[in-house]
């Protein structure tokens, strides 16, 4: 067990956590505005696909990342249109995005590249690694040679916090999420706020997809997000819909993924190893709900006793 807590493990945990964390920041905002974005999984997948295709065709990882974020944003606006405008159920519409993205990426993959499984190009343009001269320092060594996506993720925590708590937009987001009618009554543009929050969610999901495809890995495989979008959503909920809490949760879930990778080939069946991030996420969500309920009951009985 002790070998889990080495610098090498921390490096792997941060790498695995970065895409989850990035998408989780968007999920915090969409949860706050009251339009849950289940489509984050599909937006992330579409982002991964876009990033790899653009990286191959244009040959520039930055352009690829921008395109991925753009595609994520556009999908989020579609979701916004059907939910905010048409009043469709956000969960179902979000799921529609996921189904669509899962199938459409495979369709395009086979139409453009004639492959139904994966797209691997060794010469693909990927996002750069930032080398810092702290490789030999304990703990800090974990950030010495990380991909720029890890730094983007860290920066996004601050950005999301500022967005939510230091800007007028953040006030609007929180007000709309608390009570849309009250928000409308005081003159807050409810729909516009919801659209903008969703756009931020889609932007981060697309960015996370790019981070996964041309930062963490350098290829596209069908369904390669493998639930990471859902895990990001879980991180937002587990983290109390607060950027800092969600970041902590994303690190926990990323660590679970890295631990799983580490435990591979050590006699534990691979299925149980792969299960780890999902199991940790489910148990974390269950634990926090039960704890909250118990606390509520206790305070209730205290009130009754008084």
């Amino acid at each position: 067990m002790s070998e889990l807590l080495t610098t090498a493990f921390l490096i792997a945990a941060l790498r695995a956590a970065a895409p989850i964390l990035i998408a989780a920041m968007g999920s915090v905002v969409t949860e706050r505005v009251g339009v849950p974005n289940i489509g984050v999984e599909g937006m992330m997948l579409a982002g991964s696909f876009t990033a790899v295709v653009v990286a191959i065709e244009v040959g520039n990882a930055w352009v690829a990342t921008g395109a991925a974020a753009l595609v994520g944003t556009m999908l989020a606006l579609v979701l916004g249109f059907v939910t905010v405008r048409w009043g469709a159920d956000a969960i179902v519409a979000g799921f529609a995005i996921n189904v669509f993205a899962a199938g459409f990426t495979v369709l395009l993959l086979s139409e453009i590249y004639g492959s139904k499984g994966s797209l691997v190009r060794p010469d693909i343009s990927v996002l750069p690694v930032i080398e810092l001269p702290v490789a030999d320092v304990p703990i800090l060594g974990a950030v010495a040679g990380q991909n720029i996506m890890v730094w983007v993720a860290a920066a996004l925590v601050g950005v999301s916090w500022a967005l939510l708590f230091q800007t007028r937009f953040g006030v609007h987001v929180r007000a709309v999420g608390e009570d849309p009618d009250a928000a409308r009554a005081v003159g807050i543009p409810v729909r516009l706020t919801q659209y903008r929050a969703l756009a931020f969610g889609g932007f981060t999901a697309g960015l996370a997809g790019a981070g996964l495809a041309i930062g963490y890995l350098s290829s596209f495989t069908r369904d390669m997000t493998a639930g990471r979008g859902f895990i990001a959503l879980a991180a937002a909920l587990f983290g109390g819909r607060h950027p800092l809490g969600a970041a902590g949760a994303a690190l926990l879930f990323g660590a679970a993924e890295a631990a799983g990778n580490r435990l591979q080939g050590q006699g534990i069946p691979s299925q149980f190893v792969l299960m780890l991030p999902y199991l940790v996420t489910a148990v974390a969500l269950a634990a926090i709900s039960v704890r909250r309920t118990v606390a509520e009951r206790r305070s209730l009985t205290r009130v009754e006793a008084a």
Partner: protein, 359 residues
């Protein structure tokens, strides 16, 4: 009363029909764009699935798991929970039933009955976890069920590499084949249509009657539509939520084992064609009307069967289905608007009789 029900069924059917026609039209347009021989491709897609005895049987057989998961989702929507875990429940149901059919030596149809019960129980048990957490601790059942899907599917993968692996073919993630006693009778040889299709349709009818004609069903629906009111009249909506989730999981689990006993005849790793997820689409397409679930499932099967025929006979890949799927999903969600308008224009007292669920 009968006239009213007939009218509601009719309006659900008409709404679904419009959505279906629009999605198929868009599918046809995409096929025509992608193919070098659009006429042949469109013809293969639209008529292929019903071209002769064999194709008809295959299309109905392919619809069977979707009937079960469609019913599972319709049921969960009716009680106001999102069971996005039908996929995992289906896998565990299939695994538990397969274990019973292979390991327990029973005479004749008893094997089928016992395996099916085991499948339903396994599905219900797996659904009980998110169900109870949702009902009594307010946990987010959506994320919870999605996570548990991954756990269940990986667990079944492990079963097939160890405890349930076929000793004759080590290394292949599959179980032994189901003994003859445990197989559901075939109905339309040489196609693989099996008794499971009939079981599924009868099951939907029974569930429909239970939901609409018994006080138990009324309690469940009431809790799903208006928890506050349900509490006020002495019902316990939390309990209804859990019960609904259990029934939903049982239906999904049963769908899994019936598919194994009737169609595949052995448990395979990754055997589900997203049955659990497409169940959402099936349920929403007919607005959670259980009587119409089989119709929606056959329709969906027609679309995917058509795509397969098309892939075999022309140059269009079957992934074109994904476009139809996505469009169907979006259109189905869009019809929520008409639902919303209809609800608003219906007087309060009539709302509880409206077979439109949480969606």
């Amino acid at each position: 009363m009968t006239g009213r029900v007939a009218r509601l069924v009719a309006s659900d059917a008409v709404g679904a029909l419009i959505v279906v026609l629009a999605a198929v039209a868009i599918g046809v347009a995409v096929v025509a764009l992608l193919s070098d021989e659009p006429a042949a491709a469109v013809d293969a897609m639209l008529t292929g699935p019903f071209d002769g005895r064999y194709q008809i049987g295959s299309t109905l057989a392919r619809a069977t798991p979707f009937i079960f998961t469609g019913a599972a989702l319709a049921l969960s929507f009716r009680v106001g929970v999102f069971n996005l875990g039908a996929e995992g429940q289906l896998y565990l149901g299939a695994a538990a039933g397969t274990a019973v059919a292979i390991r327990i030596d029973l005479a004749g149809p008893l094997t089928i009955v016992l395996a099916t019960v085991a499948g339903a129980l396994a599905g219900a048990a797996w659904a009980a976890i998110p169900g109870a957490l949702r009902a009594y601790a307010g946990a987010n059942e959506i994320v919870m069920t999605l996570m548990l899907n991954f756990v269940a599917i990986l667990f079944v993968g492990w079963l097939l590499s160890g405890p349930l692996a076929d000793p004759a073919r080590v290394g292949f993630p599959q179980s032994e084949s189901i003994p003859d006693d445990g197989r559901l009778p075939r109905l339309l040889e040489p196609s693989n249509l099996h008794l499971g299709f009939v079981i599924a349709c009868v099951g939907c009818l029974v569930l429909h009657v239970a939901l609409t004609r018994t006080s138990w069903g009324l309690g469940l629906r009431l809790s799903g539509e208006n928890a506050e009111f349900a509490t006020y009249v002495g019902l316990r909506p939390e309990r209804s939520m859990l019960v609904g989730m259990l029934c939903s999981g049982a239906a999904a689990g049963m769908g899994g084992i019936v598919h194994i006993l009737g169609d595949q005849l052995r448990l395979l790793d990754g055997f589900s064609a997203s049955y659990g997820f497409i169940g959402i689409l099936i349920a929403l397409l007919v607005r959670n009307n259980l009587l119409l679930v089989p119709v929606a499932a056959v329709f969906y099967s027609w679309v995917i069967s058509g795509a397969q025929v098309m892939e075999e006979t022309t140059d269009v890949p079957r992934e074109v289905v994904s476009v139809v799927q996505g469009v169907l999903f979006l259109l189905v969600t869009a019809t929520a608007v008409t639902t919303y308008l209809r609800r608003r224009s219906t007087p309060q007292s009539a709302q509880t009789l409206d077979p439109v669920g949480a969606a």
